[in-house]
C-alpha cells in the first residue's frame, strides 16, 4: 500500500475536479462523492500507518519524476516515514469528520457544493504537503493550502470581515513564505538539491558553513511562523475564524496551521545543525504561546478563544521542537521531538473536536459571544460532554491524551528553567480559559433567554463526528504512555531512538497546575465567588491590553500597512508626476520647439509650398478649358503641335535658345492659343448644349 500512497492526496483532487466540472449542480452527489473519496483516503492512510509500523518507521522514499537543471534537481516524490504516516492519519481523520459534520452545518448554504470542492482541494494540498519528499514540493503544497485557506476563510465573501480576513491570512502567511523562499534559495544554492535526504547529508557532512545553516534555518522557519501563526505573524489566525466553523476546525486548528510545526519537525536536521537557529525557534514558540494564552484569558468570542488557544498550543509544539534542536546540537538527549509531534497529533484531535463542538453550539444559538450563552449543557448533551472531554484533554488532565503529550513537553523544558516556569504558567492559563469557556457556555443560568429557548441539539451527522473525535481525544495519547515497551517514542523519533524514563513527580506537578486552573475557573465563573468584573476593574490597564490583543493589529496598521500604502501612493504620484512628468516635459519642450519651427514652416517653408499650390490651382482654373471633350479640338491641338514641331525640327524657324525654354514657351503659347479659341466660342457652345439638354 505504501508504494501507492500517492493515491491518498490524489483522491480528494479527483473529487475536486469532478465536483467543479460535473457535479456542482447536484449537492447530494458532490458532497457524497467528496466524503467517499476522503473515506477511501482514510482507509489507505490507515493501511499505510500499519505498514509503516510494521517497518518500525523505516522511511520509504519514491521518486516519480526528476529533472536536473543546472545542477539542481527538481523532483516529485514521496517520503513515508512514521511522522508522515501519523500526519496522514491525522489529516484524513479530521478531514473525514469535518466533511461529514459539514453535511449538517452547511446544509442550507447556497454554495454547498463549492464548499465541498474547496475542502477536497484543501485535503489534496495538505496530504501532498505531508507526503512531499523535498523542499520544492513542500513549498508548492504549502502555497496551495494557503490558497484554499484563503478561499475558505472568505467563503462567505459577502461579509466584508470575512473577505478581509481571507486577504489578511493570505498576505500575512505570504510574508512568512517570503522567508521560506529565501530559505529555499539558500538551500538550493548551497546544497544543490531540494531533496530532504540530500540536503541533510550536506548539512551533516559540514560542507555548508555553520553560519549559513543558521541563516537558512531561520529563513525556513519564517515559513512556519507564517503558516503556524507564530509571533509576530499570529494576527491572521483569530481573524480567520470568520470562515465557516468546519473550516476553522479542519484548517485553522487541526491541520494547516500544524503544517508549520510539521515543517520544523521535518527539517529538524537543519536545526540540529545550528543551536542558534534552534534557540530562535524555541524562543519564538515560547513568546507566541505566552502571548496567545494571555489574550485567550479575556476574549468573549468562543471561536476566538479557541483560536488563541490554538496559537498558544502551536507555540508549545514549536518551542518543544526548538528545544530539542538546541539540546541535540549541544549533544544532550531530549524528548522535545517526540513531545512536539505527539502534541501535534493529540492537539489535532481535541482541537478539531473543540471547534466542531463550538460550531454545534453556534449552530444552535446563532452567536459567537459566550456572554450570551450559558446553561446549554442539559439541552445539548453530546455537544457539551464532548466539549468538556476535549477541554480536559487540552488542559492536560490524567489520563486523557492531552496529558501525555503535554507532560512530555514539560519534561523537555526541565533543563531550561525559564522555559519550565513559563510552560507551567501557560499550562495553568490554558486550563483556566478553557474551563472558563466551558462554565460560561454549558453551566449556570442562560444569560440570553431568547437564544436559550431557541437552542437544540444538533443533528446526528454533526454529533457523530463529535463522538468519534471525543473518543480519539481520550485515547489517542495512550500510545505514548511511557511504560509501554513499544510506544510512540520508539516509533516516531529523530536521530537515535531515546526512551525517556517516566517522571512521576513531573506528571503530578503538571496535573496539579492544570487542575488548579480548572478550579480557579470554577470559582470565578461557576460559583461566582470571585467576580470576574471586579478582577477586570482592578487590573484595568492589563485587561484592556489583553482584551485588545496587545494592539498588534493597530500597531501593524500604524507601522506597516499605513506607511506602505502611503508609500505606494507616493510612488504612484512620483511615477505620474516625476517620471511621467519628465517624459511629458520632454514632449512639452519638443512641442515648444516645434511651435517655433511651425511658425517658420507656416510662413516661410509652407508659404512657398502653398504658394506653388495656389499657382497651380489658378493655372488649373485656366487650363481646364483645354479639356473640352471635343475630339475635333484635340485633333486641332495635335495638329498645331505637329506643325510647330515640324517648323522647329526642320529648321524653318531658327531659334537659338535652349530646348527647355523652347518647350516652355511653346507649351505656353499653344495653351494660350487653345484657351483663347475656347473662350472665344465657349459660351456659345455651352449655351447650345444647355438648350439641347433641356
Amino acid at each position: 500500500m505504501t508504494e501507492n500512497a500517492y493515491l491518498i492526496p490524489l483522491l480528494p483532487l479527483f473529487a475536486f475536479v469532478m465536483i467543479v466540472f460535473f457535479m456542482r449542480w447536484n449537492e447530494k452527489l458532490s458532497s457524497g462523492f467528496s466524503i467517499a473519496m476522503i473515506l477511501i483516503s482514510w482507509v489507505m492512510a490507515l493501511v499505510v500507518l500499519i505498514e509503516t509500523l510494521g517497518r518500525y518507521g523505516e522511511p520509504y522514499e519514491a521518486f516519480y519524476y526528476i529533472t536536473a537543471f543546472n545542477n539542481i534537481n527538481f523532483e516529485i516524490g514521496l517520503l513515508v516515514d512514521a511522522l508522515t504516516a501519523i500526519m496522514l492519519m491525522v489529516v484524513t481523520t479530521v478531514g473525514a469528520c469535518v466533511e461529514i459534520y459539514s453535511l449538517g452545518y452547511m446544509k442550507d448554504d447556497p454554495r454547498f457544493s463549492r464548499f465541498f470542492a474547496y475542502l477536497s482541494l484543501f485535503l489534496f494540498s495538505m496530504l501532498g504537503l505531508v507526503l512531499a519528499n523535498n523542499f520544492f514540493m513542500i513549498f508548492i503544497f504549502w502555497e496551495l493550502v494557503g490558497l484554499t485557506s484563503y478561499l475558505l476563510i472568505g467563503f462567505w465573501f459577502e461579509k466584508k470581515v470575512a473577505a478581509d480576513a481571507g486577504k489578511k491570512a493570505f498576505i500575512t502567511t505570504r510574508i512568512g513564505d517570503l522567508g521560506f523562499i529565501v530559505g529555499l534559495l539558500i538551500v538550493a544554492f548551497y546544497a544543490g538539491t531540494f531533496n530532504f535526504g540530500g540536503v541533510f547529508d550536506k548539512v551533516a557532512s559540514g560542507v555548508i558553513p555553520a553560519g549559513i545553516i543558521t541563516v537558512a534555518g531561520i529563513f525556513l522557519f519564517c515559513g512556519a511562523i507564517g503558516k503556524s501563526a507564530q509571533f509576530p505573524l499570529h494576527v491572521w489566525l483569530p481573524d480567520a475564524m470568520e470562515g465557516p466553523t468546519p473550516v476553522s476546525a479542519l484548517i485553522h486548528a487541526a491541520t494547516m496551521v500544524a503544517a508549520g510545526v510539521y515543517l520544523v519537525a521535518r527539517i529538524m536536521n537543519i536545526f540540529v545543525g545550528s543551536a542558534e537557529a534552534s534557540m530562535v525557534v524555541a524562543v519564538i514558540g515560547l513568546i507566541t504561546s505566552f502571548i496567545a494564552a494571555t489574550i485567550g484569558l479575556v476574549q468573549n468570542d468562543i471561536k476566538r478563544v479557541l483560536a488563541y488557544s490554538t496559537v498558544s498550543q502551536l507555540g508549545y509544539m514549536i518551542m518543544a521542537l526548538g528545544l530539542y534542536g538546541y539540546d541535540t546540537a549541544h549533544g544532550h538527549h531530549s524528548a522535545g521531538y517526540v513531545a512536539g509531534t505527539l502534541h501535534l497529533m493529540t492537539h489535532a484531535f481535541f482541537k478539531g473536536l473543540l471547534f466542531l463542538a463550538a460550531g454545534s453550539v453556534i449552530h444552535a444559538v446563532h452567536t459567537n459571544d459566550i456572554q450570551e450563552m450559558g446553561g446549554l449543557g442539559p439541552k445539548m448533551k453530546i455537544t457539551s460532554v464532548t466539549f468538556m472531554i476535549a477541554s480536559l484533554s487540552i488542559a492536560g488532565i490524567f489520563p486523557l491524551s492531552g496529558f501525555w503529550s503535554k507532560d512530555e513537553i514539560i519534561a523537555t523544558t526541565l533543563q531550561h528553567p525559564v522555559f519550565f516556569v513559563f510552560t507551567l504558567l501557560i499550562a495553568f492559563m490554558t486550563a483556566f480559559y478553557m474551563w472558563r469557556l466551558c462554565f460560561l457556555t454549558f453551566f449556570g443560568k442562560p444569560r440570553d433567554q431568547h437564544r436559550f429557548d431557541h437552542a437544540h441539539e444538533s443533528p446526528r451527522v454533526m454529533t457523530w463526528p463529535l463522538a468519534f473525535l471525543g473518543f480519539l481525544s481520550i485515547f489517542a495519547g495512550w500510545v505514548a504512555i511511557p511504560w509501554l515497551p513499544h510506544g510512540y517514542s520508539s516509533f516516531v523519533y529523530h536521530g537515535e531512538m531515546h526512551h525517556a524514563a517516566p517522571n512521576i513527580l513531573l506528571m503530578l506537578i503538571s496535573t496539579i497546575v492544570a487542575g488548579s486552573g480548572i478550579v480557579l475557573a470554577y470559582f470565578i465563573y461557576y460559583k461566582e465567588k470571585i467576580s470576574a468584573d471586579r478582577l477586570a476593574e482592578k487590573f484595568r490597564p492589563l485587561y484592556t491590553l489583553l482584551y485588545n490583543k496587545y494592539y498588534f493589529d493597530e500597531i501593524y496598521q500604524f507601522l506597516i500597512i499605513d506607511p506602505l500604502m502611503k508609500f505606494a501612493d507616493f510612488m504612484w504620484t512620483f511615477d505620474a508626476r516625476i517620471i511621467d512628468g519628465a517624459v511629458n516635459g520632454t514632449a512639452w519642450l519638443t512641442i515648444l520647439w516645434s511651435n517655433v519651427k511651425l511658425w517658420f514652416d507656416t510662413w516661410i517653408v509652407d508659404g512657398a509650398v502653398n504658394g506653388s499650390g495656389w499657382l497651380v490651382r489658378q493655372g488649373a482654373r485656366i487650363l481646364r478649358f483645354l479639356q473640352s471633350g471635343s475630339m475635333q479640338f484635340y485633333v486641332l491641338f495635335i495638329l498645331i503641335i505637329i506643325v510647330v514641331t515640324g517648323l522647329i525640327k526642320f529648321e524653318f524657324i531658327r531659334i537659338d535658345i535652349q530646348w527647355p525654354v523652347i518647350t516652355v514657351v511653346f507649351v505656353l503659347g499653344v495653351t494660350l492659343l487653345g484657351i483663347l479659341s475656347r473662350l472665344a466660342a465657349g459660351k456659345e457652345g455651352t449655351a447650345q448644349r444647355l438648350e439641347q439638354e433641356e
Partner: protein, 99 residues
C-alpha cells in the same frame, strides 16, 4: 512624282481641315475619306516611282480602301445611333466627355 505628292499633301490638308471644322459627324466622315485618299495616292505614287519590284504599295492601298469601307459602315451605324439618341448629329452635342 513631286506633283503627285503635292497633290496628296493638299488633299490631306483639306481633309484635315474638314475633320477639324465640320460640325456634322457625316461631314467629318467624308473628310476622313478625303484623307484616306490622300494617303492612297501617296502609296501608289511611291509604288510607281520608288519601289523596285512588286506591288506592295498598291496592295496597301487596297487594304486601306477596304478598311475605309468598314470604317464607313461602322461610323455610319454610330451616326444613326447617335441620331436616335440625341436627335441630332452635331459634334458639339457629343462632347459630354469633358470636365
Amino acid at each position: 512624282m513631286l506633283y503627285y505628292l503635292g497633290l496628296a499633301a493638299v488633299l490631306f490638308s483639306i481633309g484635315l481641315f474638314g475633320v477639324i471644322t465640320r460640325r456634322n459627324v457625316i461631314g467629318i466622315l467624308m473628310s476622313l475619306e478625303l484623307m484616306f485618299n490622300a494617303a492612297n495616292i501617296n502609296f501608289v505614287t511611291f509604288n510607281k516611282f520608288i519601289l523596285n519590284d512588286g506591288l506592295t504599295g498598291q496592295l496597301f492601298a487596297i487594304f486601306i480602301v477596304v478598311v475605309a469601307a468598314a470604317e464607313a459602315t461602322v461610323g455610319l451605324a454610330i451616326v444613326l445611333l447617335l441620331y436616335r439618341n440625341w436627335r441630332g448629329i452635331n459634334t458639339d452635342n457629343v462632347s459630354i466627355m469633358k470636365w
